[in-house]
């Protein structure tokens, strides 16, 4: 039963016998192939083969591929046909995948980067054009898209943004007060929390939460639209993806983020108050008094403007990576990840740059 072979005077003989279903003996198959290599004529016989399946066909197929001049004798019709069908199609060599060649990789990397930069520039140009069309009231506007985007980026995000800020204010107050207490100056905890939240922390917390929540969602939704060829369909209807897909998200986020920042500031100050009152024996009235003294309109406006800029960054990253997503499920995941990571990185870099500019020219 099974596979037998011999090789005499450059004429090899292979016998398939009995029930060869589920044949799984790679070592034997390997030995057989080694034995056949030195022969000029090969005969494969199947007169006593009772049962076969694809494993049998795979063995015969392999023999026919590796050795020339093979004759099949007494084969069941179906088995012979299956093997011939597999062989019939022109034998293509493996189409070589690019090797790990350092210089080739470097070159490709540079090209890829250059193309990435170009795509980003194209995206910015198109977005600017769409924005201009929107301002001059020539854009196609679907009110449903806008309402949905405003709701989603606005009040539905309020809870989570405020919670995160509240906790930040609380932690800030706790850590700060531990230090200030060394000088008996724990009442200044209100000033510390207020300045930090209003100037930058409220905006940052809002930005990080919105990048994780909304930026990722935008990239995934737009990416899926790309996979379903919805974006192509838009184009064939003469509609600009920029008008329909990007503008509602970009504008609504740019509008809602400053407001979310204000709520984040408030939540942070309240969080600080909770820590101060509960753990450091400061009365609410005292806390509010110091908070009010520390509050500066200039800081507040800077913070809110930061929030708006973060909104634009988040929406731009989400839309950009969604639109440039690949065409399969895996790339949708990649797009969402890239949207979040790059939004956060760009936000941090932008904060640095903005602070430098603001302090530099002394607004």
């Amino acid at each position: 039963m099974g596979l037998k072979f011999c090789n005499k005077d450059k004429t090899a003989l292979v016998e398939l016998e009995g029930d060869m279903r589920r044949f799984d003996n790679p070592k034997l198959a390997q030995r057989m192939l080694a034995c056949l290599r030195s022969s000029e004529k090969v005969e494969v016989r199947a007169a006593n083969l009772t049962d076969w399946d694809s494993t049998t066909a795979a063995i015969v197929y392999k023999i026919m591929r590796k050795v020339k001049g093979v004759k099949l004798v007494d084969f069941p019709q179906g088995l012979a046909n299956t093997v011939h069908l597999a062989l019939k199609i022109d034998r293509k060599p493996y189409i070589a995948k690019p090797d790990d060649d350092f210089f080739a990789n470097l070159g490709e990397d540079l090209i890829e980067r250059w193309q990435g930069l170009r795509r980003a520039l194209v995206f910015m140009r198109r977005t600017a054009v769409s924005f201009w069309r929107l301002l001059s009231a020539r854009a196609v506007i679907r009110s449903a898209d806008w309402i949905e985007a405003l709701a989603d980026n606005g009040y539905r995000a309020l809870g989570i943004v405020m919670l995160a800020s509240f906790m930040t204010g609380l932690i800030l107050a706790f850590v700060g007060a531990l230090q200030l207490r060394l000088f008996g100056a724990q009442v200044y905890i209100a000033s510390l929390v207020t300045i930090a939240m209003v100037r930058i922390m409220g905006a940052i917390m809002m930005g990080i939460i919105m990048a994780g929540r909304t930026g990722a969602q935008m990239a995934a939704v737009i990416g899926s639209m790309k996979v379903n060829e919805e974006l192509d369909a838009l184009q064939t209807f003469g509609l600009e993806a920029g008008d329909i897909v990007v503008m509602p998200r970009l504008v609504s986020l740019a509008l809602s983020c400053p407001f979310l920042t204000i709520f984040a500031d408030l939540a942070g100050i309240v969080g600080g108050m909770l820590a101060a009152v509960a753990m450091f024996d400061i009365s609410p009235a005292q806390y509010l008094l110091y908070a009010k003294q520390a509050f500066a309109m200039r800081d507040f406006i800077i913070g809110v403007v930061h929030g708006g800029i973060y909104g634009i960054i988040i929406a731009a990253c989400g839309c950009y990576f969604g639109i440039n997503c690949g065409r399969d499920a895996r790339s949708v995941g990649d797009a969402a990840t890239k949207a979040v990571v790059s939004a956060i990185v760009i936000m941090i870099v932008a904060t640095g740059a903005l602070t430098w500019i603001i302090e530099g020219i002394g607004i």
């Binding site: 589920r22 494993t55 088995l79 046909n81 189409i95």
Partner: protein, 250 residues
């Protein structure tokens, strides 16, 4: 070789209140190429889902190789399904795996073969569908027709004795579509595989089918069962006469 391998008994298929089929009875014989015909939206894909265990019928029973599918326990169902290969309408290849890995997946999952044997089997199946040399490609690097063939290779991996196709020629050009018909005939002849095809491609139906049912979306019933070649000569009802005339005539 004319035993029944799939049988639907008084099947009722519905989504909530939306009933698609009432009192559906039919039988598929071993070795048949069985066609499910019907207009778009008549519930062909839903019937297929019922046959492959993805959608429980509202009433009635499905027998596969004399086992009552929906009365069986989880382990039994899985065992029944291992003998079935399915080619989904969209291909449904896993995009994070190469073509070779896609075809190897059912073998790794359900067989105890050694990795070498699995590799040989994948090689054979890809060659059978004309994709030799594409083992290391990802689905998004292939054309639509190639993706379909790749998912056929995956469906064939476990040597199923029943193979289901949902609209195999949708999205294919006529030449690829004829080649695919030939492939279906070869698989059926060589390994005696029973094949169930959803189709409304008349040429293809007449080339490959030896038995068929017609789902009427308006009547919500199977209004005809028999041989499509016979129906062409002698339509059993007006809907079928229309079906053949319209699709052929244009």
């Amino acid at each position: 070789m004319s035993e029944t391998i799939i049988r639907g008994e008084n099947l009722e298929i519905a989504y909530g209140e939306n009933v698609l089929l009432r009192d559906g009875n039919f039988a598929v014989k071993r070795g048949d190429i069985f066609i499910i015909m019907g207009g778009s939206g008549s519930g062909k894909s839903s019937l297929l889902k019922t046959l492959i265990g993805l959608k429980e019928p509202k009433a009635g029973r499905v027998f596969i190789r004399d086992e009552d599918f929906y009365q069986s326990d989880e382990a039994k169902r899985r065992q029944i399904m291992q003998g079935c290969g399915v080619l989904y309408q969209s291909g449904a290849l896993f995009s994070s795996m190469t073509i070779g890995e896609n075809a190897a997946l059912p073998l790794q999952q359900y067989s105890t073969y050694s990795p070498e044997t699995i590799a040989e089997l994948v090689e054979l199946k890809l060659a059978l569908v004309g994709l030799q040399g594409y083992r290391d490609f990802y689905p998004d690097e292939l054309s639509g027709g190639m993706k379909k063939r790749a998912s056929l290779a995956r469906a064939l991996a476990l040597d199923p004795d029943i193979l289901y196709f949902d609209e195999p020629s949708s999205g294919l050009d006529p030449v690829s579509s004829r080649l695919q018909d030939e492939l279906i005939l070869e698989i059926n002849a060589n390994q005696g595989t029973t094949i169930v095809v959803i189709s409304h491609d008349v040429d293809s139906i007449l080339t490959i089918g030896n038995n068929a049912i017609y789902l009427d979306g308006n009547a919500k019933q199977i209004t005809a069962a028999g041989s499509p070649q016979e129906w062409l000569r002698n339509p059993p009802n007006a809907a079928l006469a229309d079906f053949f005339k319209r699709r052929r005539g244009e």
